[in-house]
Symmetry: C2
Subunit: 365 residues, 2 copies
Amino acid sequence: MNQRLDILKQWLKEESIAAAFINSTENVFYLTNFHTDPHERLMGLFVFPDAEPFVVVPGMEARQVKGAGWNYEVIGYSDHENPWEFIQQSINKRNIEGNTVAFEKEVVTYRRSENFLSLFNSPQILNVEDKLNEMRVVKDETELEIMRRAAKMADFGVEVGVNALKEGITEMEVLAKIEYELKKKGIREMSFSTMVLFGEKAGDPHGNPGDRTLKAGDFVLFDLGVVLEGYTSDITRTFAYKTISDKQREIYETVLKAELASLEASKPGNRIGDLDQIARDIITDAGYGDYFPHRIGHGLGINVHEFPSMSHLNNGILKEGMTYTIEPGIYVPEIGGVRIEDDVLITKDGYETLTAYPKELQIIE
Amino acid sequence: MNQRLDILKQWLKEESIAAAFINSTENVFYLTNFHTDPHERLMGLFVFPDAEPFVVVPGMEARQVKGAGWNYEVIGYSDHENPWEFIQQSINKRNIEGNTVAFEKEVVTYRRSENFLSLFNSPQILNVEDKLNEMRVVKDETELEIMRRAAKMADFGVEVGVNALKEGITEMEVLAKIEYELKKKGIREMSFSTMVLFGEKAGDPHGNPGDRTLKAGDFVLFDLGVVLEGYTSDITRTFAYKTISDKQREIYETVLKAELASLEASKPGNRIGDLDQIARDIITDAGYGDYFPHRIGHGLGINVHEFPSMSHLNNGILKEGMTYTIEPGIYVPEIGGVRIEDDVLITKDGYETLTAYPKELQIIE
């Protein structure tokens, strides 16, 4: 952790930033190893180019910060106290010079920005996310080891879902079984609301699982992931139930072809946006361009959606250690939808998929 | 919904606010009946004193806004488009006059405030939450009907948990059973991370369920709630497993006495802060004042934590239709903890508890 803090402090020096306020659960975790969900209460990390950093948390959690390995100042406050008063005192005592400050513009609420900025005279504002996103986009071995296990849990979730399929079962019943088995393995939190969609329901890329019962000829779409030790996974698999029409088969094979092509283009030095374009071209050539309404994927790590954005507009370059999803889909309202998604790691000379559940077309009996 | 919008528009007129930007999932739901989790994508409602309001959403969800009953403009955008360009066009076409604007200061990110404010010349900023919180704090019959059902689901969750208890079972196994049974009943989301804590684990008000196995003499603490049709519930019950010491019994009876006294004080016209003080005095008189580190409760509704804050500092007055939790607790590190929590509705001349699971001391065999 200290190494990450050192890199950030070095950046503060280079940018002549007097103080940085880190407010997101995810970035505080990245820099301190302390993970919490403080709900509406304030939790934050304050970092300076030279002075000692400090953490502010609801008092009940103060000892957990130390327990996570944080060796610097921790300020705990009660519900009836104003944490900004303590923050002001702690900053004053550090004799900070300069009026350029940084915080997470994409995350910090306007109210908290007001509170933070009021501690400085005529502050100039920079976005600390510029640096933190750059740091977080490349994962180290410790992170990858956790992400590999998180991806295996997602594979397992799909396996549970497939085994639960039977005529007449509802989407919610299958979803409940998946999450039950994952919880029994110690998973406390899914990385987003699990999707189990049957038939025409799978034709909506943002559909909601419900009472729809399974019948022959349905597509079955699973989209799920877990949070494990602060890191996420995210997998989608689609299956045919009992029978499949020629049209459905064509859709499935087109999505699979697009996914494999996009994976093949996953190597250091390639343009990020090309991965979307390659898949999009295949889907468009097959006549389904209008039915692929989203980008090919998203970065994955502490957040289930983080950098890099896997949009065709992204001119960034793939680097070893980047992790993201590849998830092309085709959604045809009357027929249903197919999406196939893997978690991808850029290796020294290519890629590795962290998710490993088979993706050749399977017709579940 | 239109009535709520009308009240908000009337307030905009009174405050001479030219435009309001509503960004939180919860407030957009409250005003439009459309509920979504757009993750990092922008979703927002723009309201004006006279002109037609509009909603901006990721394109894939545009038809769901209409489906929720929204009869005004909806702007959908794709991942490669900048929604703020469409917002600017839609605002320009309305010929808005004035430079006082409002948004949710406690929720809107600094970046989005920049985007919104850049649409106006030298904008003056007010907080639209001042009005929305005031509106939301009193529930109507439609809301209460949902909240009653959400509370019954929470009762059911405790029942499942109690039935699952047996020597040697882990906290996570019990938690998994509770959520499995709730999901089978159609619950897609818990209102917060479910807590099942045994023995000394229950002595930490923010403990995390894990591998701790159940044994005779443990306290068993359940804290859970569901999200149902956009509304939340939240219940805590504590049980003794097989045996109970005199000290444990004293702690339990003190918490129960404090909870009942706080409930008795729940009637229109009473000072909100008194509910905390009454419970705190009972716990302090019994010698446990240092072991009750949190406020007595929180408002409950679309958010699991909302207004009113049930702190002893709150000088607000209880009104018919308010809903909140009462949840005193005593946490003694070596012995464990007890918390008893109900969801409370202020009625015309008193209160009603929405949660109904029995709370007399039970020793589970």
